[in-house]
Symmetry: D2
Subunit: 508 residues, 4 copies
Amino acid sequence: MSPSLSSELFSDSISTLTTTTESLDNGASDDTLHEECGVFGIWGADTAAAVVALGLHALQHRGQEAAGITSWDGKNFHSRRAVGHVAGNFDRDDAIRSLPGSCAIGHVRYATTGASTLCNVQPLYAELVSGGFAIAHNGNISNAETLRHQLVRHGSIFQSTSDTETIIHLVATSSYRSLLDRFIDALKQVEGAYSLVCLTPEGMIACRDPLGIRPLVLGKVGETFVVASETVALDIIGGTYIRQVEPGELIIISEKGLQSIHPFKKQKPRPCIFEHVYFSRPDSLIGSTSVYSVRKSIGIELARENPVDADMVIPVPDSGTPAAIGYAQQSSLPFELGIIRSHYVGRTFIQPGDQVRHLGVKLKHNANRALIKGKKLVLVDDSIVRGTTSVKIIRMLRDAGAKEIHLRIASPPTRHSCFYGVDTPERAKLLAAKMTVEQMAEYIGADSLAFISMDGLYRAVGEEGRNDAQPQYCDACFTGAYPTPLTDLGELGASEQLVRLSEQVAIA
Amino acid sequence: MSPSLSSELFSDSISTLTTTTESLDNGASDDTLHEECGVFGIWGADTAAAVVALGLHALQHRGQEAAGITSWDGKNFHSRRAVGHVAGNFDRDDAIRSLPGSCAIGHVRYATTGASTLCNVQPLYAELVSGGFAIAHNGNISNAETLRHQLVRHGSIFQSTSDTETIIHLVATSSYRSLLDRFIDALKQVEGAYSLVCLTPEGMIACRDPLGIRPLVLGKVGETFVVASETVALDIIGGTYIRQVEPGELIIISEKGLQSIHPFKKQKPRPCIFEHVYFSRPDSLIGSTSVYSVRKSIGIELARENPVDADMVIPVPDSGTPAAIGYAQQSSLPFELGIIRSHYVGRTFIQPGDQVRHLGVKLKHNANRALIKGKKLVLVDDSIVRGTTSVKIIRMLRDAGAKEIHLRIASPPTRHSCFYGVDTPERAKLLAAKMTVEQMAEYIGADSLAFISMDGLYRAVGEEGRNDAQPQYCDACFTGAYPTPLTDLGELGASEQLVRLSEQVAIA
Amino acid sequence: MSPSLSSELFSDSISTLTTTTESLDNGASDDTLHEECGVFGIWGADTAAAVVALGLHALQHRGQEAAGITSWDGKNFHSRRAVGHVAGNFDRDDAIRSLPGSCAIGHVRYATTGASTLCNVQPLYAELVSGGFAIAHNGNISNAETLRHQLVRHGSIFQSTSDTETIIHLVATSSYRSLLDRFIDALKQVEGAYSLVCLTPEGMIACRDPLGIRPLVLGKVGETFVVASETVALDIIGGTYIRQVEPGELIIISEKGLQSIHPFKKQKPRPCIFEHVYFSRPDSLIGSTSVYSVRKSIGIELARENPVDADMVIPVPDSGTPAAIGYAQQSSLPFELGIIRSHYVGRTFIQPGDQVRHLGVKLKHNANRALIKGKKLVLVDDSIVRGTTSVKIIRMLRDAGAKEIHLRIASPPTRHSCFYGVDTPERAKLLAAKMTVEQMAEYIGADSLAFISMDGLYRAVGEEGRNDAQPQYCDACFTGAYPTPLTDLGELGASEQLVRLSEQVAIA
Amino acid sequence: MSPSLSSELFSDSISTLTTTTESLDNGASDDTLHEECGVFGIWGADTAAAVVALGLHALQHRGQEAAGITSWDGKNFHSRRAVGHVAGNFDRDDAIRSLPGSCAIGHVRYATTGASTLCNVQPLYAELVSGGFAIAHNGNISNAETLRHQLVRHGSIFQSTSDTETIIHLVATSSYRSLLDRFIDALKQVEGAYSLVCLTPEGMIACRDPLGIRPLVLGKVGETFVVASETVALDIIGGTYIRQVEPGELIIISEKGLQSIHPFKKQKPRPCIFEHVYFSRPDSLIGSTSVYSVRKSIGIELARENPVDADMVIPVPDSGTPAAIGYAQQSSLPFELGIIRSHYVGRTFIQPGDQVRHLGVKLKHNANRALIKGKKLVLVDDSIVRGTTSVKIIRMLRDAGAKEIHLRIASPPTRHSCFYGVDTPERAKLLAAKMTVEQMAEYIGADSLAFISMDGLYRAVGEEGRNDAQPQYCDACFTGAYPTPLTDLGELGASEQLVRLSEQVAIA
């Protein structure tokens, strides 16, 4: 009997399906964009799974719904996946002991609710003819459906609804011989965004799509190589940051050390600009730039472009805080905490009965009434998606006595859906896709509303402005300029592309 | 987007992994043979899943470790699988409501412990190009490993370690067009024992391997067809028994009614004779014969072949009871309850400390001391596997004052492992493979020991005796005469076959 | 700070509130009488809690809803109580390790469902001025409500709705000095039935009410004293049976050995006769009489008093089995298994839809159709409570083709509620309180129905007959002759007593 | 039967003992002071329990370990208590539906871990002769042990180790007749700090100890009266703030409206000054003063008293943030986020193996390396308890390249334990009780360390300074000037008082 078929080879402990308080946020926070994933991998460390757990904890903001770790002990793979946070599921001794070995990869995921989704929780794992193969993916394959149809027609059986599984089946059915050739063969068939970390008996593979849409960094802890979605995951384990994995680069880390190849045709990179605005943690570096400093620069640009005569600058905590500090410093207005954020956010509480109904229920935010009463406020937030949160927050501030509220947004209007791994509502629900800025201001109830300009945003990230001929970033959520085909969308994609073209003209 | 890819198409609620008291039996009961599965299916009934739950409950003795139900509501498949009993997991309203639809199949399973085995709990499910396909299997594919290697080499990815999954991949990768042709193509490649119930959008398929090793019956409840492993599953739902599914028969039940085909080359059937001795419930019918009456007949034959001068006949409850009643009636000795069985069997309790250590801990059985003290007993049990239980029971009866203990066994000596879906220890652990009957009597501590003869057993099931040239049943556990090749065993299989041949001679 | 107030002194681990499959029986079994408790205690053994767990497991039939153990390690008390069976809650290493010490008592309980009842699960515990005091109680205090009112009026705060807590408060508020004097003072105020085991730092106290209504036995394992509700709890731990605790006897077991006192005025004992008929396990001894032999004798008496011309005798398993064996031996009719009992009883399953509705759902029992078809049956059961089970079983046997069904009951008609620790329905729901035997036979659907006579029952337990002037047993459920006042019933009690008197006349 | 004895009268659903991620913080956060409780009550609202749940959610920072709600539906009391957060345990429909009625009180608790403590989770409940009585308590009774001894000696049986239960037994055993008289009689016997909310069939009682040590406010939502520990609990339900419950005031809210009495001898109030510094939420009002503005004023005072030449002011988030903003504004240094706080705090993660061991694991905080490298920092924190957190944070900032670190603390040195409901370590573990400020600076590793002066703190809360003859606040944790006797401490208390006296002199 081949070892690859033995049930001991792969133990997958599906931990109890705990529902988590914080991850199922209350209504208000549905009105944000959600990064869909964070990945982490380490090859050759004692208690590798414990290191991965720490790394994932630092990446928790990239995916709060589920987490998983797969380890390789030189003989067998071990996997543990759970709905819920890393803390609570992977901080316990028994969890780490169930993941023996010196090599491990992990994944945090933003996903829809429900126990049944556990089959979608990554890392995914398969027994290939070459042996075990585990994969963790940040991004989204935009031709996954099309590929899936082809694969099913040829007899592949899918275990999940995840686009990531497509990659595994492409590897399994590739006509190449070596695992690496099969893997590259598979990637050449997929389009979209992917930062991948894979664990195989021969080594750990890390790679980033040719455009480098999603981030991936390389670091070291002692002599051991680590890959992670963001540098904060290196900080938490006391590691050092080496460099980004380059767009289109494929790194193999094994006992022989680190090998880097570039299997794809070279393209001009288009990393996601929204990582700067919202997704990444402020204490992360993207390339060699501090996210915190970019956000402060956005606030400075905003203050230059859209100054206001006001009493104070207040952020929508916590994502608006760095830009608000920048705005306050540039405008010489005092920075104050006008909204207090609860640390104990829960699901939507049951609404009490008639007497207290219709009274704004503020589970997450409360106005600092004594501070803002009778005052003119500059309110700084990171973005407007559906607009529902902005409506509630401005109503709350008005109820607390604010005299004027001038809303300043640290990103351009979000007018298009993301198909690269960010959970955005369909276009029809994006407020900026339906209204002018003036209409939005009225809808939201702000005395004035302004967004940073596209060039202002590019200046904040260190460019002179947007190069419309060849944009330096993926900014499709603002511009509709998708840098890859969107095959699965088909007809819809085509019309979407039309809209995009017409709007690109408008932007130009 | 194709509906077959939507996450709504297939909801699989993995219920909380409850450990169950009863299913994890105490040490003594490890010394029994375990049927590995029971199956049940219904096509076209209100609340089909509730009917299946009842049917599985009646089949619980065939598999106590896990249970699962998959339903089809005309549009989507729904599945719920749980470690533990049917009662407790499938008797609740929420469980049944999570399985909507008028067609459903189910499975109970004896299996090894551990949460990770949930991926092995049936029904298994796959999205094929023809649509959803769910399968429940009683039996064992004896060339599953060999087939699995071939399939993996061609890119199939297995989700479980179950031999049943092999069938699914053979269907998925078959070069035939229609699902039925693919299914038959798959079955023609497998060898071993299988009673299968499959659920597809076009109908429910039930079939039995060409030798009919494992049972499968056809019944009706109202106008609705039902298939089940045993007739007791028809009784519990108020159904009526029509007939057995014939060996090699494949039945398709759909809106068009019932269609029967015989796709395999006709062979002489070899149903498992141990179903009569132990596996089936005494209130089931096999063919048109009552299992209870066969077991009583075994007791009668035993009394004729091996009479004893004794005060009373007592069974090892509950499986030895019908044979003990037969023995008592034939021998005109009183039938008495000399051993009381607890209804509350649990895991192995923690052993108390020094003072009470080494004192026999009898969780499952207790001697009826006042009855048996100073008495000569005929003790009737169904079989001897490792012999450990017999040792304990006889010691317990001696401690309680029994004067003589004459053990009579309602089956011939169990000398060979089963490869057709019954969990037997390896040969080296079977007491009868290592010892003569006299040695066994001494080892066990009985004053005398006798097994029913092979011909006596065949007489009890209504034959004139065993036809050694062409045995009417699979009796490989007694004779080593395996009716199919045992491909996966390879060399081991070859030597096993040698042993078998030499022993067949001995039997003859 | 006094140690008696420290939180370490008493650790009470309330285990997770697991719902248990078996304990929540299906509808049919609601139609039985439930013993409310079993108790067990040991003083001075290694791993005392493990011994108690085994003892409680053997007493599980006396209370299936909840179990608890309290241990004393010479310094602190430890308690663990759980809804559910002993197995599953107290067979694990962590459970036993949470109960350190060489002295422990335990309790199994029949009780209503619901998490909130955990406060009623025994042993109950209190910190008295004399130190910790744990108590386990089998029986029922018939003036508990009246005493409770008085205690609350004087400032006692009750933690539970249990009548047992009344005893603790009486001890706590007694004006005597020593704990023993306080305890006796408390018992002199209560009326009703009680077999008690108490754990205190100075010793274990076991006592039985002056009439000895509920059983309690004394045994030894090695040199260590044990008390238990039944002798089977001694068997399971390899102990030896010494004698019953006498009615009105109070035993103190401590380092000084065993001390016996008789603090109450001597009365003629009135032990519960139903322990012989149903509650106790057949392998227990009551006094020196085997319960199994009494039940067989009841069957013999029944056959003498009410012979039938029939083909076979079949029991309602398992409680009717010994009497059926006796009936068969006396009548020379064959004993057969006409009804097969499932080992996997669950809650009421969800009823399937229209097509299979109204079809008898037989979760617990199934007719052995092939055996009974066309046959004349003597059916033996232990008792008739509401009659609902009898109706269903007879309908099931008729549906299976039985020609005649003659029901024989191993106890006299149950006409009165028990107020001594047995869960009986109110009188109005007792079938025998509403109908004559002929009416019952018709209601139930039996061809004939007969109960053992009162004198027949007394003969079976070894008496010459019932001494109506001074009954040897408590048989109030049959006669209404309650041996103690029923203070809490008040007016109702009075009228009940009138009924009792008139009926006693009728019996005489 | 009296209704007060019926089991239906009081249903207490102990929810499953879920362990919560956030509440069990990692090591660093053990080095803070923990407020022990928050209370909330409402009389006469639809879905009262849902309102209480919201109120408790807003008070979660006052107690994160456990929460409970007791409701009164005009006939029965209902209670639900759980270990863990309000969100997750009380935001679900089933939880609220299990708490019917228009009157309810609730409690959040900081407490030690372990399932057994559930008996200590409030509200506590007792059936008194006057009917049901539920109580929720914020504070600490400093003669609870002494009273408990007396009560046990007279026969009271305690259910918990909570000091609050003492009050209930005093009420139960009082010789007064009416519940109100009994309650006042009880309170006159207790010393220490208590803000209480009680629920009785006749009304809700709210009261505050004569010194008003712990806060309690009165509000309204619609026409319905509400009491709560802080005004933020009024904000969340859309209520309005009326006034504080006065020290020594007892308010009865019932169908007759609100009645206020002052049963105690009038004393000069001594509210806890630390509520301003740390415990209360910044968006709460104490009296009519904004906590946020007090904290900013503290920062302003700190900057005046202890200015530094630095590049920026950074807070230890989040508790140091308002004071840091004040310090920055007063000093005209930029306010920056030099430390990023994770929103996903967990338990102590398993430490990885050798290679990454000894590397600071920063689960809760991470340095904003790019910002602070080479910079001179003013670091603002609320207090120093053991000092362990300060050591770690300063080492983390140094590792990230900070050039100078000047620590400024928004409270005077914490030198004494609190006996009024705040969980402080014993004196020997308080850094400021063992070291001078210079020694502390060296131990912590700061370039300079300064605390706000006592008079500076009093100025920040609006006084001219501390009135040492008659202090306006309880500042015992800084001064040792305990405003009540500490009876339970006995000898220890006496010596503590000596220390206090000598130090008061020192302060003066």
